[in-house]
């Protein structure tokens, strides 16, 4: 279908963009890979679309002080191919490579994806496992929130009216840690029916740190804290994986019932953890 009529602005500077959206009566667009389909399906009909695509520098990727800083309009392709990200936070590069198809990865952005907060998106699992932070700015504010406090509900985030996602800050992974993102793609849409991001650090044969982020399973991405604790206290992968969806609300749809989804979460958590463990040294 054709979207309903809307006003379109493409500000040339961040200041201009923040001024435009300060009124709140508009929708911010980056790559448009989520917003445009919604508009074409008439599930979204914004009066005014503000396109951040022409704001210079908003897609930069850099590292300083043990943190990788990724601009909101960095594309999935930028992220999967960036030497900085592949070297410093390879889990995120791996997650990016699972998103959509080549065309979507060339257009879609990190900031757009997380601001849209589809419960079946790929990034949230990794961002949670990486304990990333999201920097939000508006015309008169600048704040940083933990990834764990960012994803609130389906299509609902901590972003407030007048704010945009400016950048994502990811603490670097240690070279010796193991990581893995595993996903059950929906056969038609390619979205994550279940996606599990795992990070493991080992010392002397013991797991000293485990971080597990899960997307797709519930209405919002979550950290599997109980499973992490089990691993850190010496439990095996199967035991930890069994606890991965513990206490979490579970989605159900035409493809997978809640029961089956919980099952898939455990199976794929076990697979992700096994691979992460094998990569850790």
């Amino acid at each position: 279908m054709i979207p309903q009529n809307f006003e379109y602005s493409a500000p040339a500077t961040l200041q201009e963009a923040l001024q435009l959206i300060s009124g709140g009566e508009c929708k911010v667009m980056a790559g448009g890979m989520s917003l445009i389909p919604l508009m074409k399906l008439r599930l979204a009909a914004p009066e005014h679309v503000v396109d951040l695509g022409r704001v210079p520098g908003l897609n930069s990727i850099s590292e300083s002080g043990g943190v990788v800083c990724i601009g909101a309009t960095a594309t999935h392709h930028d992220i999967e191919s960036s030497p900085v990200i592949r070297g410093r936070v390879p889990l995120l590069a791996e997650a990016a490579s699972h998103i959509g198809d080549v065309q979507v990865r060339n257009r879609g952005t990190l900031g757009g994806s997380i601001a849209h907060a589809d419960p079946a998106a790929d990034y949230p699992a990794s961002l949670l496992a990486l304990e990333a932070k999201v920097r939000l700015v508006s015309a008169n504010s600048d704040r940083t929130v933990e990834a764990a406090d960012f994803f609130l509900d389906p299509f609902t985030t901590a972003v407030e009216s007048g704010e945009i996602v400016l950048e994502v800050l990811v603490p670097i992974e240690e070279p010796r840690e193991g990581y893995r993102y595993e996903k059950v793609p929906h056969p038609a849409s390619g979205f994550a029916v279940v996606g599990v991001a795992a990070r493991i650090k080992k010392a002397g044969g013991k797991t000293t740190l485990a971080r597990i982020g899960v997307t797709g399973t519930g209405p919002r991405a979550f950290r599997a804290l109980a499973a992490e604790k089990l691993l850190e206290s010496g439990a095996d992968v199967a035991t930890a994986a069994a606890a991965v969806a513990e206490g979490q609300e579970t989605n159900a749809d035409l493809y997978a019932s809640a029961e089956y989804r919980r099952h898939l979460t455990r199976v794929w958590a076990a697979r992700a953890l096994t691979l992460a463990l094998s990569r850790a040294s």
């Binding site: 849409s189 029961e259 076990a270």
Partner: protein, 780 residues
């Protein structure tokens, strides 16, 4: 056979236009003043329109017509594009005061833009009396179920009080006696789903009045002639006032063997006296077009200890949705083209086709056979396993063979008695042999189950057949005339829907006339300029339309030789034509070019070399197919991945092997979706839940397994140059081959399609508890 054009991989005659984006398809024209038509779909599965007010919609500037049932003739008809008199019930109306499924027509508008048309639809004020609906086919015949067709003027409905659109019972031999003779009897129930065609090009129609006030219909159809007849009848105008033009078509698969938009688009054009276009969106295509009939099949087979099948009994309950398009004929095929695969003397087929308040089913590649073969070939595999036989051996022992007569076809024709089917060509044994070799059957049957790991592999197979045209009903005509340069215009009513009919027909003409393919210029599917043809369905075009082309070409060749005989001063008997010339077959060799013959005829003899011919067959020779699949089943998630699919098909002689292989590959792609992922789902109020490609999964290039396609050519006496057909048969065996391979891999029988991972896993844990992963991962 010694041929120069037939049997060669020549390029499609319309290929250049297609790949360069020429004005090929219905929607590629923009007529001055063209309006956009849009249909208001019913939001209720079953309701009566108590009041409908269109005044606000009509008042919207740019809206030129709003039609409701009050504005159009009420003529009971079927939308099924079948030969007259159609065997489908006359239960459909251009517009009606009752709606029978979510998506049924309530009203139609024509406006200056699509947006305006959509806006106008929202301004139509409708009061519905919502009626109880029946969505479940198993409840449709119950006493007290809502009667979907309570209108008195519909005809040819088997039992309207019980929502039975059609009922079939046919028997050869005596099945009860047969079961008494059997050493073992097996009986199982199978279920198949609502699959949608998902053709690349949706239904689209443009209608206008020409300078003489005649109604022009440019439309994406498989059946231009049926469409012309039906539109004329529904709108109550003479056939002579209607012209149907079929341009290039972006796929039909049976979905366009249907007069679907042409009537309402014509009504809007007549009302506005302006060109009107209606094009379905993808969403509309899913639930406002047609789909495959869902069926519940109870298959019972009696066998001797040595594996000989003595009796088969198939009982089918199917739903045709809210209207009976193709109801009796699709289901008739489920019996007549499936049961006779085995040589059992006793066969019985019983079927009820019921109305439900669901989207309308219709023709779909395979036409009832994919459902029937899923049941029969799954059960055959189960029997072979129980008897300790290799399924290949079971088929070798029981399958129909050369010289056999299929008597069930004589009882089950197109909605009436048919004609017996004599097997005059049969490559099935060779198909099985070569398919088995391609998949490495003997080794993998032994070695695969022994493999370690949680992903289990298995191989399975199935044998299937189809028809080539409807015996005694399908017919076609063609016409050829010669031009100065030795080229020929070929006019055929046949409808190339993308499968390559124009090319195949041109190859047949070129071969017969002894000219190169480039010398044949094809015009097809235009009711003003091409002779009659029943249309592109029932795997008929190559054998029936091709037969007509060959006959016409033979007549024209005789005229060519007649002129050449005078020119060369030799008797006609001593002449032949090949390579664009006519030459003597006796020494000394003398020749004239086709162009010289044409110039002589046109300017000296004052003779237009031209002729036409009509053709039909009283038999429908079956193409055969053996399908072999290797699958990998993830026993932790239930995901089934097809690793390799080998399809060996006997199409008779392949007129264009490259195109024939393309047909096989396309058919198995749809077969994979039918087996593993495709199902249009409805919620409890009859609303479609997945009418889009984000939720409804069709197999695309990147999902395909390794494919091996094998053509096992035989020579069919009834076909032009020995051809039968190819387009439908390869879809039939994919689902049972996969289901049988799953059994080989993990020992679980899946009897419901599509085989979804969650269902697979549940069945696995139920039937093979030892495959459950360790305790910690068990489902709660």
């Amino acid at each position: 056979m010694n041929t120069t054009v037939v049997g060669k991989n020549l390029r499609k005659v319309d290929g250049f236009k297609l790949v360069t984006g020429g004005a090929a398809f219905t929607d590629d024209v923009l007529l001055p003043g063209m309006l956009y038509g849009k249909i208001l779909p019913s939001p209720y599965a079953h309701a009566r329109i108590k009041r409908i007010d269109t005044s606000k919609a009509k008042a919207l500037p740019g809206v030129h017509a709003v039609l409701t049932y009050k504005d159009v003739p009420r003529v009971p008809h079927t939308t099924a594009g079948q030969a007259w008199p159609e065997p489908s019930p006359y239960d459909t109306y251009l517009l009606d005061s009752k709606v029978r499924f979510v998506g049924d027509r309530v009203a139609a508008v024509a406006a200056e833009s699509r947006a305006l048309a959509e806006q106008a639809l929202r301004l139509i004020d409708v009061d519905y009396e919502v009626l109880p609906a029946v969505l479940d086919m198993e409840a449709a015949m119950d006493a007290g179920a809502p009667v979907i067709h309570d209108e008195p003027d519909s005809t040819k409905i088997f039992d309207r009080e019980h929502n039975i659109a059609a009922h079939i019972r046919r028997e050869i031999g005596n099945v009860d006696d047969g079961f008494r003779e059997a050493d073992f009897i097996f009986e199982r129930e199978y279920r198949t789903q609502r699959q949608q065609h998902c053709m690349l090009e949706p239904h689209v129609t443009i209608c206008w009045l020409d300078g003489d006030g005649r109604l022009m219909i440019r439309t994406s159809t498989q059946v231009p002639y049926h469409c012309r007849r039906q539109v004329a009848m529904i709108l109550q105008i003479p056939v002579s006032r209607v012209r149907v033009i079929k341009p290039r078509i972006g796929g039909g698969f049976g979905g366009k063997q249907e007069m679907l938009l042409e009537d309402i688009c014509s009504a809007l054009a007549l009302a506005t006296r302006r060109p009107v276009k209606i094009e379905y969106t993808r969403e509309e295509e899913f639930y406002m077009a047609r789909s495959r009939h869902p069926q519940i099949l109870r298959m019972k087979m009696g066998v001797k200890r040595d594996g000989t099948v003595v009796a088969s009994h198939l009982q089918v309950l199917a739903t045709t949705g809210a209207y009976g398009s193709h109801a009796s004929t699709v289901q008739g095929n489920t019996g007549s083209k499936v049961l006779p695969l085995y040589r059992a003397p006793h066969l019985r087929f019983e079927c009820d086709v019921v109305y439900t308040n669901t989207p309308v089913a219709g023709a779909f590649r395979g036409y009832g056979c994919p459902q029937g073969f899923f049941a029969q070939e799954s059960l055959a595999d189960e029997i072979a396993y129980k008897l300790g036989m290799d399924p290949v051996e079971f088929h070798r022992k029981n399958a129909i063979r050369l010289g056999d007569v299929d008597k069930l076809s004589a009882q089950l024709g197109e909605g009436k008695e048919g004609l017996p089917r004599v097997i005059r060509s049969c490559g099935l044994p060779e198909c099985v042999k070569r398919g088995a070799a391609a998949i490495d059957w003997d080794r993998k049957r032994q070695s695969l189950p022994a493999r370690a790991g949680f992903v289990k592999h298995g191989v399975g197979m199935s044998c299937t057949m189809q028809g080539s045209g409807i015996a005694g009903i399908d017919w076609a005509a063609s016409f050829l005339k010669m031009n100065e340069d030795g080229s020929f215009f070929l006019q055929v009513g046949a409808s190339d829907v993308g499968a390559g009919a124009d090319t195949v027909l041109a190859q047949i003409a070129a071969e017969t006339l002894g000219v190169s393919l480039g010398k044949i210029i094809v015009t097809s599917g235009d009711t003003d300029f091409t002779p009659f043809d029943t249309g592109a369905y029932a795997s008929s075009t190559t054998i029936i339309s091709g037969g007509a082309v060959k006959k016409a070409a033979e007549k024209v060749r005789a005229q060519v030789l007649g002129v050449a005989a005078k020119m060369l001063a030799v008797p006609v008997e001593n002449l032949a034509c090949a390579k664009d010339e006519v030459f003597t077959t006796t020494k000394p060799r003398k020749s004239v070019s086709m162009a010289e013959v044409a110039l002589q005829a046109l300017y000296q003899e004052k003779l237009q070399i031209m002729d036409g011919a009509s053709h039909y067959n009283t038999d429908s020779p079956p193409p055969f197919c053996a399908t072999f699949a290797e699958v990998a089943v993830d026993t932790q998630t239930g995901r089934v991945r097809v690793v390799h699919l080998a399809t060996a098909v006997d199409p008779g002689v392949a007129i264009n092997p490259m195109q024939a292989e393309g047909q096989v590959e396309g058919a198995v792609t749809q077969g994979l979706g039918f087996a593993l992922s495709e199902e249009l789902m409805l919620n409890h109020t009859g609303w479609p839940m997945n009418p889009n490609f984000l939720d409804y999964k069709i197999f695309s290039a990147k999902d395909m397994p390794k494919l091996t396609t094998i053509l096992v050519e035989t020579e069919e006496p009834l076909g032009p140059y020995g051809a039968k057909s190819v387009s439908e048969v390869p879809i039939n065996g994919v689902a049972p081959a996969i289901a049988n391979a799953i059994f080989h891999a993990v020992g679980v029988r899946i009897r419901k399609l599509p085989i979804r991972p969650e269902d697979m896993l549940r069945a696995l844990y139920e039937q093979q508890p030892e495959l459950k992963p360790e305790e910690a991962l068990v489902t709660q």
